[in-house]
């Protein structure tokens, strides 16, 4: 939250300069501000980002063997990401866990390299690529937006009062989600509610409410920060991709992953699922690798590994069911299959989040026992 406030502070002069400077200079304030921000708060991240940006762009530009270049870039960037994710960079990072923004800019660079391989990226300059990776609003919290769309916005960017107003609105919504819904309602009031339920000895209800509050709080906080990032981008004249689309209204688990952390789930679909499927011709392996990466992207731990596996099973079960005659039969007897689907999906998601709520596996098992009334 604190860093996000700093970003907001940095963005105010950036927004001002990016509109009052002559058009050809308007893209630079964001790059400079991101550079200054990183040099103050995370110089190691600035070094990594600068070096990988230069290497990625110029290798792809001048390489005679694009396949080898893309594979090398993806391996190197992913290795750097893993190196820090596994905690080997602690000595460099002092007290911090990861170089700031590495989870986002690494995945953006891999996306760029693969899209270059697919020849899907229009002609562009180094300045535009630099602007993409040093884009301050989405630096810390995403979304992992795509370069072609960003490039399109660079070209069509102009002052638009309606867009600016929409940006301010999104920032307001974002803060409302984080502060009112997340911090006050879910955390403060929510904890009070759970304490009261426990005091009144409604233990099952307290556990159930705690589980729901954890998931919903995670959503409003993350969606709120995404709103702020999207809002700040709009103030700079850029429309970046949405990260959430009412995920708790998903009617099945596959639908959920098209609504939750969209920029990451579509990234995994495009750059993990499709390649693995096309090589192995086995969709289950594709889903497995995608979800495992998606889980480990958050944290390299057994909790997230189990959480990912639960979702792999759920997705495959749902698809099996969806293409089976059972579904047609069941639908004949259910009044509103969509709402039944929403109920089941919501609860599956909420219960799966128990796995990542607590790092202690015994606590996790205890929670499941309480939910399933096995805690005798």
């Amino acid at each position: 939250m604190e860093l996000q406030i700093y970003i907001l502070f940095f963005c105010i002069p950036v927004i001002l300069f990016s509109w009052i400077l002559p058009e050809r200079w308007q893209l630079y304030p964001s790059v400079f501000a991101a550079g200054i921000f990183l040099s103050v708060f995370a110089p190691e991240s600035l070094c990594i980002l600068l070096l990988t940006t230069l290497a990625t762009y110029y290798t792809l530009k001048y390489s005679n063997n694009i396949t080898a270049a893309v594979i090398s870039i993806c391996i190197i960037i992913f290795s750097i990401f893993l190196y820090f994710k596994l905690g080997y960079g602690k000595s460099i990072l002092m007290e911090r866990l990861l170089p700031l923004g590495i989870s986002y800019y690494s995945f953006r660079q891999i996306h760029y390299a693969i899209e270059m391989y697919k020849r899907k990226i229009p002609a562009h300059t180094f300045k535009e690529f630099l602007m993409y990776l040093f884009f301050l609003p989405s630096f810390l919290i995403g979304p992992i937006h795509r370069f072609p769309e960003f490039l399109k916005d660079i070209k069509r960017r102009r002052w638009d009062a309606a867009l600016f107003s929409e940006g301010l609105e999104r920032i307001l919504y974002g803060f409302a989600k984080v502060i009112i819904l997340g911090n006050y309602l879910m955390t403060d009031r929510g904890e009070a509610l759970i304490a009261w339920l426990e005091f009144e000895n409604y233990k099952w209800l307290a556990t159930y409410a705690d589980t729901i509050l954890f998931t919903v709080n995670a959503y409003v906080q993350f969606a709120g920060f995404s709103d702020i990032a999207i809002g700040l981008s709009l103030l700079l004249g850029f429309r970046i991709m949405e990260n959430f689309n009412a995920p708790f209204l998903a009617t099945n688990i596959s639908d959920f992953w098209q609504r939750w952390h969209i920029s990451l789930s579509t990234w995994c679909r495009d750059y993990v699922y499709y390649p693995f499927y096309s090589i192995t011709r086995n969709p289950y392996i594709g889903v497995l690798f995608s979800m495992v990466l998606l889980g480990l992207w958050h944290s390299i731990s057994w909790n997230y590994m189990l959480w990912a596996l639960a979702h792999v099973i759920a997705i495959n079960v749902w698809h099996y069911y969806n293409h089976s005659f059972i579904q047609q039969k069941i639908h004949l007897y259910i009044i509103s299959p969509k709402w039944v689907g929403r109920f089941i999906t919501f609860h599956f998601v909420v219960f799966s989040f128990i796995l990542v709520n607590d790092s202690d596996m015994n606590h996790v098992i205890q929670t499941y026992k309480k939910i399933l009334c096995l805690d005798v």
Binding site: Y117, K152, K155, R156, R157, R158, Y273, Y274, Y277, S278
Partner: protein, 615 residues
Amino acid sequence: MQIEELLNKSLNGDLTKKVFLEIIGKQYSYGTFFTDVVKINNLFHSKGLVEGDKMFISLKDEYDITLFFMAGLVSGVTVISVDPEINAFRAQKIVEQAAPEMCVLEEYLFEKWNINKEQQFCLSKKETQKKGSLFKKLLKNSASTDPTEDGDSYPAIMDSLSASMMTYKQPAPETIAYILFTSGTTSDPKGVMISQKNLWEHINTLTKVYGMNHQSRILNNLSLYHADGIIQGPVLAACCNATLVRPLKKFEIGLTGEFLTGIYKYRISHLVVVPAIISILYKFSENYEDSFESPDFKFVISVSAHIEEYLWTNFEKTFKTEIVNVYGLTETVAGSLFSGPDKTIKKIGTVGKPVDCLIKIVDQHNQEVPQGEEGELMIKGDHVFKGYYKNESATQLVLNNDWLSSGDLAIIDSEGFVKITGRKKNIVVVGGFNIHPEEISEVINTHPEIMESICIGVKDEVFGEKIIACIVAKDKSKMNKNILAAYLSEHLEHNKMPADILIYDELPKGLSGKVQIKEIEQSIYNNDAESPDAKFDLQKEIFRIAAISFKVEASNLSINDNSNSINGWDSMAHLHLVTKLEERFNTRFSAAEIMIMNNFKSIESILKKHTLNVV
């Protein structure tokens, strides 16, 4: 149209600082532009040019073309504008026929076209030496102090001309405003004469139909030597006190993205394009589908050629915007019938209904046919031209009691909408440009190794039609496609170059010795893998399989749909589709192919490669 009011508002009124033209990022205000117009008018006066005299212009710079054209319209000097790219023979013929009192040409064209500078007042466009802006300012005065050196060259002459407007008198309605040589053959060019009345009456119609006003911003990148480029561009913009934007030097496929992003960037309200450009924008729309989602944008104006119904419908659906189709001829200034934007005159697939003019459909005996029957479309109105310049016989062929024969066959449906069904005149419309096939044959036949030739128009997916040249070489000739193409590129304008050259031993002829065009057309279609009749409906088959995979109705699918636009298109459904397509077409996609198969366009293009030898 009150020209005097426009001049006053531009020179001293509320339009002075308003942007009139925005050409490749450079802005020109109404004040700047019309000050130059006044200067050119003063030049006409000083050189003794009066209303009705003719000025021949052929320039490259878009500001210059607009300036001289508008100056001619304002003063009543008839403008004859000709593309610098046309071949020398045709240019000479036009100058010879028009006998202008003044010529404004690129410097090199005087020599290339062998124009005699003694016969009229000549102004040559000289490239100004580029200097740094500081030196430019310092040297500005000294550069213009030698009138003898640059006295007859533009733009140097502008510094010596007065910018004060003399007492203004609007040209008479019957004065010829401009002559466009867009039809006829090289040896017999036909100049379409448009009077001041024709022009301004039609401008009023266009303004009314399009609902244009001072807030409008028109993007029209069409050639300024084409009626739809100059009239529906700067002339229309000036009359509405609007702004004309021309973001590109020339529209090219590689610049589709820039063109589409320009809609939002430049706050465009009206986009004027030909169907060939619409087709290209549609084909390369991936990731640009939101280009028209701008609060300022009103609609796309399709001009110059017939737009296919499927393209019209799919374009509107893909870009979520509206196309207004304009049917007209150079002989009717720009338009006559409009399909949209008003719902009462819009029907996709038709040219709509006439606005401010009368129409009728007649048979070969010039008798009106009953509703629903095919005949030739006739147009009558204040915008119909005066005739072909110095060509009474050609005029009589198309003008009968003020009714203009359009040369197009049409029917009127029960709701009063007009549908074009064919063409009576021998014209091929390539990307909005009317081309006489005889003109190309005429040039081909000048090659010493050609015995005979015929050019025909056949359907083309992007340009609407394309020209195919069918030739018979002389005995022992080593003639081939490359030799002839090289020859033609020297003697023909770029847009008139045949799309293909077919070499025959002899052309099929009937008993009377006439070339059997139908037979040639059939043989071309038979040999063409892309022939519409022979084409397997791959799209339909993809949609059928996709409908099963995504659990949607096939009829709801469009070629522009992608994994984001269809709810059921998730990773598993994608796999289902890929597998089913592989089974259906007995093929196997590579990893790279599967990765880019996230929209129907790429699926179709990949399948085309795979199924070329299967279907």
